[in-house]
């Protein structure tokens, strides 16, 4: 009889999930990476959705077409793996019956879940940097954060012009993000009148960059570009490049990660580094969000988090505009129709028609900052048109 109970235990799991559907509850999925190296980003995204939900719940719920909805965030982990993401997406879509998913962190996971989400009309908001995530035949996918493709050119133009950089060296992880960014950056430097002279690709978990940096520095580059690397890796590259006596410009034209880089490399090594920043602490709402994040979770804020807070809020507004939470086609159309949205980071608009064939890429203001004493100090303000 015992054997039956084992089998039962092994299979009963399935019967437990789901749960009673409370009245007027709006479920949102957060399909993000919560274990493994992508967890910093995943937590930032999940918490953004949670805080956005908290905001509307505090006021008695989200008012859509006269009905109040309490928002519930269901968070599942994908461990940054495509297979795990597919299972979690299946569970969210078919079991939890969510119509909206904040996620995924990675490029591979979003490409893997799109067949499910697009077919079932589930709106996703992904961080994945791959250009393939946004295409005309994937109308339900949105990306609320700018990628290298959006921010690289104006920043690189500015750096090349003001810092007199001619040749640049860069290390990229050998993964989908690294390869995409390497291509974008090479084009951007070319356009700005400089060259990405030395590039190296390395296995993602590599920690010793001294041999690669030795080679890059030996080629006499003026600057080292960090874009495309995870915060930890970028920190290690900075530290080891400075250890090797590299005195040129170090810059990162995409991906908010300054705090982590400083943590790893230390203040001395990062002094004078130029970084991309989406975050101006001078903007009151942005500062307030960071303070709230730190107070709530007792951890430094991940740089991508504010985008997903704004993204979730825009999603809520789209539901209200459309007057429905069920008809995602109407919500999608309403979301596309939002313009000049007053987000915590500034004014947001949809863009990307030219680049992706669909305007599902959020365009927001960004900055070039110089790291001084471990802190960002904004030196130029940018839009996709240029920096000054």
């Amino acid at each position: 009889m015992k054997r039956n109970s084992i089998l039962a235990a092994a299979s009963v799991f399935a019967l437990i999930s789901g749960g009673a559907m409370a009245q007027e509850t709006l479920k949102i999925g957060a399909l993000v990476t919560m274990s493994g190296a992508g967890a910093s980003w995943g937590n930032g995204m999940k918490r953004a959705a949670e805080m956005a939900a908290e905001d509307v719940n505090e006021t008695g719920g989200l008012d859509v077409g006269g009905t109040k909805y309490m928002v519930e965030v269901i968070a599942y982990d994908d461990s940054y793996k495509a297979n795990e993401a597919v299972t979690a997406a299946n569970r969210l879509v078919f079991e939890d019956k969510v119509k909206y998913i904040i996620g995924t962190v990675g490029s591979a996971p979003i490409l893997a879940i799109q067949p499910i989400t697009e077919e079932n009309g589930v709106i996703t908001m992904t961080l994945g940097f791959t250009a393939q995530a946004l295409t005309a035949d994937k109308p339900y996918t949105f990306r609320p954060n700018p990628t290298t493709a959006e921010v690289a050119q104006p920043q690189i133009d500015w750096i090349v012009k003001t810092q007199g950089v001619k040749t640049v060296g860069a290390l990229f992880p050998k993964d989908e993000t690294g390869e995409a960014i390497a291509k974008d950056l090479a084009g951007a430097y070319e356009k700005a009148g400089a060259t990405l002279a030395a590039t190296e690709f390395f296995e993602r978990d590599r920690v010793d960059f001294i041999p690669l940096l030795t080679r890059i520095i030996a080629q006499g580059v003026d600057a080292i570009e960090l874009d495309g690397n995870s915060p930890v890796t970028a920190g290690q590259i900075v530290q080891q490049a400075r250890d090797l006596g590299f005195e040129g410009v170090i810059l990162r034209t995409g991906g908010p990660a300054t705090q982590e880089i400083v943590n790893v490399a230390g203040e001395a090594a990062t002094e004078g580094m130029f970084v991309h920043s989406a975050f101006d602490p001078g903007v009151e709402s942005a500062k307030a969000y960071e303070d709230r994040y730190v107070a709530t979770y007792n951890e430094p804020m991940n740089g991508f988090s504010p985008f997903f807070y704004d993204g979730t809020k825009m999603l809520f507004q789209a539901m209200q505009d459309a007057g429905t939470v069920e008809d995602t086609e109407a919500v999608k159309a309403a979301l596309e129709g939002i313009s000049d949205y007053g987000g915590i980071l500034g004014t947001m608009n949809w863009t990307g028609e030219d680049r992706y064939g669909i305007a599902h890429q959020l365009d927001s203001p960004f900055y070039i900052a110089r790291v001084t004493g471990g802190q960002e100090e904004i030196v130029a303000r940018c839009t996709s048109a240029g920096c000054e």
Binding site: K2, R3, N4, I6, L7, A10, S11, F13, A14, L15, I16, S17, G18, M34, S35, I74, A75, Y76, D77, S79, K81, A82, N83, E84, V86, T87, A88, N90, R91, F94, E95, S107, A108, L111, A112, Q114, P115, T130, Q132, K174, D175, E176, G178, E179, A180, E203
Partner: protein, 322 residues
């Protein structure tokens, strides 16, 4: 590792019947609940069980392969490339994946299998890494680190299995084929040779069993099954990349095999059935899930050396004594 009682099958016929009944019942769960998600989980169980079944065949000659994910990857890439580049029907792509994975295993098997125990584990570990690194380096075939997305779904004679309810019967059918193959091997002369090699290589050699050939056969069959499961996975999930078939996947097959029962016929099935759904309990807090995996693994090794599949016998024996 000893398998003294395993070949005395007739004595435990009632037990086998109960096992089969239990497994059939478990297989029917998605139809009872009607949940699409349960169909998905059930399909994943089938795929994992097939792969783990392949690993079991290799374990039957006393070897533990940590390159199993790589062979699943070979099968997956073979089928996907055939289907997308040469317009081969998926139904032919799946066995082609098995064939190529098996062929690779056959070619490299002979030198590899001279190593035993931890040395074999180590070289297969290195092979799995090498596979991943090489695939990353040939993006024109593998899609590089971006992988291949939008892989065609499984279709049978022109009918595409577009939803989970229609994939599941086919997955069950494939699993039944694999398990049938396992039963045939186990009950046949080959199975007795495997067992002899597993138990005592030197003794088997001296009693006239061609041990090298026997091990190569097991490695080839097991890896071919892995290739088949990998191809199935690719067409089901619709996305593969070299990272899909990394060390972690190999480890998870090992964990399923050990948890189910390394040498038991039904071990792979029980292991997959138990461990594939387990993460769903903790989908929101996966760090705890991994800790639990670790504890389960060590506890099973310690207290259930025959795995979950051996639990009933272990219990009945204790009961008998008490």
């Amino acid at each position: 590792m000893s398998m003294s009682a395993t070949s005395s099958a007739p004595a435990f016929q009632p037990m086998t019947v109960v096992w089969i009944a239990g497994i059939v019942l478990a297989a029917l769960i998605p139809w009872f609940t009607g949940s699409v998600f349960h169909f998905h989980i059930a399909i994943m169980v089938c795929i994992s069980a097939m792969a783990t079944g392949g690993l079991a065949v290799i374990a039957w000659v006393g070897q533990l392969s940590l390159a199993h994910a790589a062979f699943a990857g070979i099968g997956a890439y073979t089928s996907v490339l055939l289907v997308t580049r040469l317009d081969v029907p998926v139904l032919l792509g799946l066995p082609a994946g098995a064939l190529v994975a098996g062929a690779v295993a056959f070619i490299i098997g002979a030198p590899l299998l001279r190593l035993r125990g931890v040395y074999f584990v180590l070289i297969t570990f290195a092979l799995n890494e090498l596979f991943r690194l090489i695939m990353l380096d040939i993006p024109e075939f593998s899609g590089g680190s971006s992988g291949i997305a939008g892989i065609p779904k499984i279709s049978l004679f022109g009918v595409t299995l577009s939803n989970y309810q229609s994939v599941y019967p086919f997955a069950l059918f494939c699993l039944a084929l694999v398990m049938g193959l396992l039963v045939l091997i186990r009950r046949g002369q080959l199975g007795r040779r495997f067992a002899a090699v597993e138990e005592n290589l030197a003794l088997a050699e001296s009693s006239g069993i061609p041990t090298a050939k026997t091990q190569t056969i097991a490695f080839t069959i097991g890896s071919a099954i892995a290739g088949f499961s990998g191809a199935f996975l690719a067409h089901y999930v619709g996305f593969i990349s070299p990272e899909t078939f990394g060390f972690q996947l190999s480890v998870s097959y090992v964990i399923m095999l050990v948890t189910g029962g390394r040498l038991a016929l039904w071990g792979p099935l029980v292991g997959a059935l138990f461990l594939t759904p387990l993460p769903e309990f903790l989908r929101g807090a996966v760090e705890y899930q991994h800790v639990i995996y670790g504890v389960v693994l060590i506890a099973v090794l310690r207290f259930l050396p025959r795995g979950l599949a051996g639990l009933p016998r272990q219990l009945s024996r204790k009961g008998g004594r008490g």
